[in-house]
Structures are given as structure tokens and as C-alpha cells.
Symmetry: C3
Subunit: 202 residues, 3 copies
Amino acid sequence: MSVITFLDYFGVFVFAMSGVLAASEKQLDLFGGFIIAFVTALGGGTLRDLFLNIDISWIIDTTYIYTVIAGTAFALLFKKIAKHIRKTVYLFDSIGIGLFTILGVQKALALDVPIIVVIMFGVITATFGGVIRDILCNEIPLIFRKEIYATACIVGASIYVGLDYYGLNEITNIIISGSIILLIRIVAVVKKLSMPLINDRI
Amino acid sequence: MSVITFLDYFGVFVFAMSGVLAASEKQLDLFGGFIIAFVTALGGGTLRDLFLNIDISWIIDTTYIYTVIAGTAFALLFKKIAKHIRKTVYLFDSIGIGLFTILGVQKALALDVPIIVVIMFGVITATFGGVIRDILCNEIPLIFRKEIYATACIVGASIYVGLDYYGLNEITNIIISGSIILLIRIVAVVKKLSMPLINDRI
Amino acid sequence: MSVITFLDYFGVFVFAMSGVLAASEKQLDLFGGFIIAFVTALGGGTLRDLFLNIDISWIIDTTYIYTVIAGTAFALLFKKIAKHIRKTVYLFDSIGIGLFTILGVQKALALDVPIIVVIMFGVITATFGGVIRDILCNEIPLIFRKEIYATACIVGASIYVGLDYYGLNEITNIIISGSIILLIRIVAVVKKLSMPLINDRI
């Protein structure tokens, strides 16, 4: 298993855990919790695969499904630890986002679609799992309202595409682009930055 | 028309009826009612076909569409009878679920995907119509919160796959697996069983 | 660029603008506003392309994406003008609907699917962008509850299919069918017509 594959599974595990914890605030049962974990972790990638008309990753590679089950079980069995991890180490989540962005960009790059579409698929892969989770939980998606989140993905995806165009090798590119996404997230959280609202008052 | 096909249309009719009755509590108009009936009856199968990248059943066979129209019309014209059927004979609904689970499993089995994916597609076919209905009606999906429902599908789908592996003929397998789903549902409703919640208190 | 293509982009621009203005009532940020604009303008067509298993229009032709960006920017920069346009000239929206209906019908006709499916895809293309927008904004979809909207699309789509069957040339057919959709919308708005509700009282 390559480092990238390992990090991918790790991201799925963390997102699944984070999904279950979100679900636990909504009085869902075990099945509901698993579905929320599943869509949080794999919903963005599923949407990307549907749009790009390629085989859906978790149908081809069931390790994704088992990783979601493992993440769900871990979060339920060790709820206190999981909550602690989630609240204090938001870094995990941001690593996941960075990674998912780049994995989405790579899948789209391989298909020879226009650059703006490549960047969009990076963002979709990283953020639309959370969007579907929020819809299922009957909330307006968090990333439409708060925090620098999608913006970090857009910047990171653009840098990856640019460096790839100039022939930078994959691993170095992942480290640079991923770190930038992570850095933007850290600065945004520490400085409490957020995107301007498009509110109604004129 | 084979018995299986007839039962499939029957399931679509019952689910459509059940969808309209759910919609009637939400002050929807005729168009909204039809759409809710449609997604309740055919949403799970549509999602399955999209994920498996096969032709969508109601595009190939328009009998599905006409059956939804018939179920919608019946529920609106004979609202009292329809409500009576729905409230007292929840059995119809459970027969539909059992059947849809097995039809989903069969479609996935034909495509040579991993076993866990086959079982998931049984559950998706049977339950995600209701999930999309609840999302459109601005509710947290019922099956994420209440009753033994998805669990019955998981058990029934697993048994079907197992018996199919050991070479049991189709009809017998459908009767056995479908009956088990039905039985679990009946016991769950009579005994008011439900899945444990994953609530927040520690 | 043909007149039809121009009108298509124009429809996307108007729907994007309308989406952003809807989003601005929900305290969304810039990213959320763009996503809402995007799904309002291109969500119906995306669903149609997924269901018909054809390439998604905005992946093939990125002009759609840039048109959404332009519509979003226009609505935010000239909010007062955009609001004025939206409130007083609901005609723009209705022109968009008429056009999207016919474009959806044309795409489905080209694929040799049954007539009822062709009409459904006209309606889906024109209305499901708004449905997805409402779901993301945590509302029950407006067109399930109010106004003659989908009905106009159904009538217009049916007329287009009928006239096409009898060999009427494309441009004349678009003008006739599109005008009928527009006319139904105008009459419905002026006369405050709406579809009957399927409410609960018996």
C-alpha cells in the first residue's frame, strides 16, 4: 500500500468518525449513524465519480466501506476519546480535507477535463460529503455559512494543478499543496477568519 | 408477466400511495404529491442504477412511471381507503420492502460486485426512496431514527446472498428471504423494537 | 453561436442571479452563494445528464460555469438592480423555464427514450435546479407547494413533442412551445392561479 492510499483510508476513517459524532447530536440510531458516517467520508468522492462517469471508488475497493465501519465503531466505542480528538485536534479533519482535495484533482486530471472542472472536482471531493451529511441532518450546509474551508480547497487545488503543469513530481506536489490547504485552515481557525456573508441588507 | 415482475409493480404502487399520503401532511400540491410518490417508489432503485452505472429502470420500462401515476391517483381518489390500508395494513409496506431488497440484491449480483456491496444495494433499493422523500419533505429521514427497518433489509439481503451462493433456486430463495424480512418487521412493530440510539450523553 | 445556445446561456445567467438572491436571505457566505447559484442554474440539467447517462453539460462546455460565475458576480455587485429585475420582471425567469424545458426535451428526444420520459426530462431540466436549491436552503421545494410552474413545463413539453412528431421545424416549434409555457406562467401569476393542494382534511 502506497503512502497516498494509506492517507486516503486515514482520511476516510477520520471523516467517518466525525460524521458519527455529528449524528450523535441528532438522536439517530445505529443505522442512521453509519449512513451519516458513510456519506461524510465517501459522499464527495461518490458525487465526483458519478459526475465524471467513472466507477465508484467504494464499489471497486471495499476497503473504503470497511474503513467507514471501523471509524463508526471506533467513534461509538471510544466516544470520549473520539470527541476529544475531534474537538482539540481539528488538524486531523484539515489533513483529510487537504488530501481529499488533491485526490479529487488527480482523478479529474487523469480524465483530461478542463482546468476549472479539475479544481471544482477537488473541492467537491473534499467538501460535498459534509454537504450531504448536513442535508440528511436537516441543516443548511455548514460550509455555505462559516469558516474558510472551501476557499482553502480552491487555493490548494489550483496550486496543485499549476505545479503539476510545470512538471513537479507527485509526492512533492502533494506535500506542498496539502500543506498550503492545512496552513490556510490553521490560520483561519486561529484568527477566526471567515468568508464575507452575502446578506440581505442593502 | 412473471410473478416477480408483478410483485415489483405492486411494491411500486404501494410505495407511491404511501408517498402521497406522507405528502398530504405537508400541504403540497398535485405536482409535489406526484414527485414525492415517485421518489418514494422509485428513488431507491434510481440511486442503485446510478451507482451501478446501469440503465435506470423507469427509463427502460415506463410501466413503473404509469404505476406511480396509478398509485398517486388511487390514493387521492380513495383517500379514506388508502389511509385505512396504510395505517392498518403496514404489512403491504413491509412486503414492498422485502421485495425491493431482493430485487436490488439480484441486480447487483448480476454485475459481479463484492458481496458487501450487493447487500448494500439491497438496502439502498428498499430504503433510500423513503430517505429522499423525507429530505424533500424537510425531515430527518425516519429510518435513521426509528424502528427496525434497514436492519431487516440487511438480514434478508445477507440470507438471500448466502442461499444463492449455495445454489438455492430463485423462487424459493425469494420466498424465504422475503418472509424473514417481513417477519422481522412484524416482530419489530408488534414488540415496538427499535435500534439503539447513538445519543450524546456520556 | 446559435440563437438557441445564446438563450441557453442567458437562462443560466438569470437562474444563477436568482439563486444568489435566494441565498442572500439565508446568511450564506460567498462560496455558499456560488454553489446555490450553480445548482439553481445547472442542477436540473446535471440530474438529466446523470439519468440519461450522457456527458454532463458543464464538464464538456465550461462556458456554463463561467456564466454562473458572471451571474453570481452581477447579482452581488448590482444587488439593487438584480433584485429589481427579479421582482418586477419575473418574465426573465419564465423565459428561462420555457427554454430549459425545451432544451431538456431535445436532449431526451435525441436519445430515443419513450415519450413520457422525454416530457419528464423537460420538466426535470427546468425545475429540479430550483428543487435542489430549496433542499440546500433547508426548505420544502417551492414548486411542490405553490404556483402553476411544473404544469406549464408539462404542457409546453407535450406540445413540443407533438409538433416535433408532425415534422414542424425546430425554431418555429421552440417559439410556439416556449410561448405557451410563458403564457401559462403569465396567466397563472396575474390570475394568482395555483394547483390544488392535496391536503389532509377529508
